[in-house]
């Protein structure tokens, strides 16, 4: 359910459509259907996980992830590659998300900014890791429905050391 934070009026059908898109977004990752997942994004999309809680931009500061469509596709190719040694023991993930909130509709672009809390468990080889934080989506409203222009992931422990991070949150 998308909660309207600023009480803005939008068509119920649009809310439902955004809701469906975001459900699919997480579920495709949970099911490792990465190609279908990438198809939900615009050509000029960005996947960004800042390294610091206060980080405002990604050009002059390192990030945990900062990828355009080309780099996202590269990650997907590697995840599917038979000689990805680190994945020899398999990797499985499960994302659980909280209610989505429409934070803002950008006046210039018409993009929707939607936030939701998440938890992700990841099983790889001999260990399970837990991640938690906030997903912030920028959704492009197009003729044929919404596409994701940006997914931003703010981990609660973004500034802590991590073992390698291989899949998208």
């Amino acid at each position: 359910m998308i909660v309207l934070v600023e009480g803005r009026r939008v068509a119920r059908s649009q809310l439902q459509e955004a809701e469906r898109l975001l459900y699919r977004e997480c579920e495709l990752l949970n099911r490792e259907l990465y190609e279908d997942w990438l198809a939900l994004f615009t050509d000029d999309c960005r996947y960004w996980a800042p390294l610091s809680p206060e980080q405002e931009e990604a050009q002059l500061h390192s990030s945990l992830f900062h990828e355009d469509r080309t780099l996202m596709r590269m990650r997907i190719t590697r995840l599917k590659h038979e000689s990805a040694h680190s994945l020899a023991g398999g990797i499985r993930t499960s994302r659980t998300v909280g209610p989505a909130a429409l934070r803002e509709i950008d006046h210039a672009s018409g993009d929707w900014v939607v936030e939701r809390r998440f938890q992700m468990s990841e099983r790889q080889g001999d260990r399970v890791r837990m991640f938690a934080g906030l997903f912030t989506y920028r959704l492009q409203s197009a003729e044929r429905g919404f596409l994701i222009r940006e997914k931003r992931v703010d981990l609660i422990d973004c500034d802590a050391p991590h073992e390698p991070l291989e899949v998208f949150f």
Binding site: S52, Q59, L60, S63, L64, T70, M74, H85, A160, P161
Partner: protein, 419 residues
Amino acid sequence: MFEGLVRDSSVDGRVYTSREVFAAEIERIFARSWSYLGHLGEIPRPGDYRRVSVAGRELIFIRHRDGRPRALLNRCAHRGAQLIGKACGRARRLRCAYHGWTYGTDGALRQLPLPDGYVGEDAPRAGHPDWALDAYPVETYRDFAFVRLQTPSNPLPLEEFLGPAREALDLMADRSPSGNLSVAGEPLAIVLRCNWKVYLENLHDGVHPPAVHESSIAAARAAARVDEPPQEVQWVAANGQPLAVFGDLKVRCHPYGHSDMSGFRKEADGEDPAYRQALAEAWGAERAGQALTRNLHNACFYPGASAHPQYMQMRRLTPLAVDRMLVESWTLRAEGAPESHFRRNIRYANTIHSPSSLVKPDDAEAYRRVQRGLESFPGAVSQHRRDSALRDSGTSTALDEEYVRAQYRAWREYMTAGR
């Protein structure tokens, strides 16, 4: 007892798995050598501090009023409580959260509650050196600060310790016409499930990339086919070059286990004429030319630091346990250099040094498998590989394990010194 673990071209696997060896390494290697504390750009103003763990001791890397850095033990002289709780910050005084003992940024005890209540000759009092925070010697080279926890009878000055390996630091500092480097934000920090030596032994290993990085090389090649490849793709694809290319990489072994490697393709950094001229005016034409064109790829400052001068990366290595280590990477920004260089170097760091790097997981997996294999049975570990093209020319390449053998010669010196 440690002497027998190391031979000329092989070592006993227990050097990677024994908790006893690890504890001795911390005291004899990490505490006795110069350890990388940080760059002064991390603490630009008086009172700026950062917590740093060196050889198991928690230190406060802090800049005092006199502009010079200090390395203070992060432990109150009263009951031993950890003094600073934040990872970094700025303070005029360091005040213990427990009973309020207060120290200056030089570690001197300034205040304590109920001072009249302390009796006896050896009683705590403000200003007395016995009650200051323990401070360790810090020396800097081109603003790179190093600390030494134990001072031997015949201490080696930092510059002598670094020896020819300091060229990597010079090349970075010389990228700024003022010689000033700054640091933006947090370092990228990755935890690896291996002994610290496994990581160092991979630094100039030109034989591993085609095998270890097969998956990311394939991904980069696929990306290069469909798009106009961005630099990230080229950086990842570089691991897929034929072994002969790695044979062209020159590896120099320096005293005390340090080493560096040169010969990779150099980025074009001298395209801005105003920048080129500013560097030439600051350092002279020859040195400025070196800063812009010398293709020194990486350097190892044994045992605890490594640099990628071309991309302005400095890395600090911290052993956490016999089978676990931390690597932190900073991208240094050269004052007066084009912003485009810094942006590219940030992208390089994200691509190569971030926990999310497409290259890193398979390196980390190789290290972890070495660790797991040796834990199941230590046996002997080979470092016999020599680049057959070289014979005894005195130089070495990325196809030769000479730098690993040199690390163990230093290891043996440290571990058996004074015994």
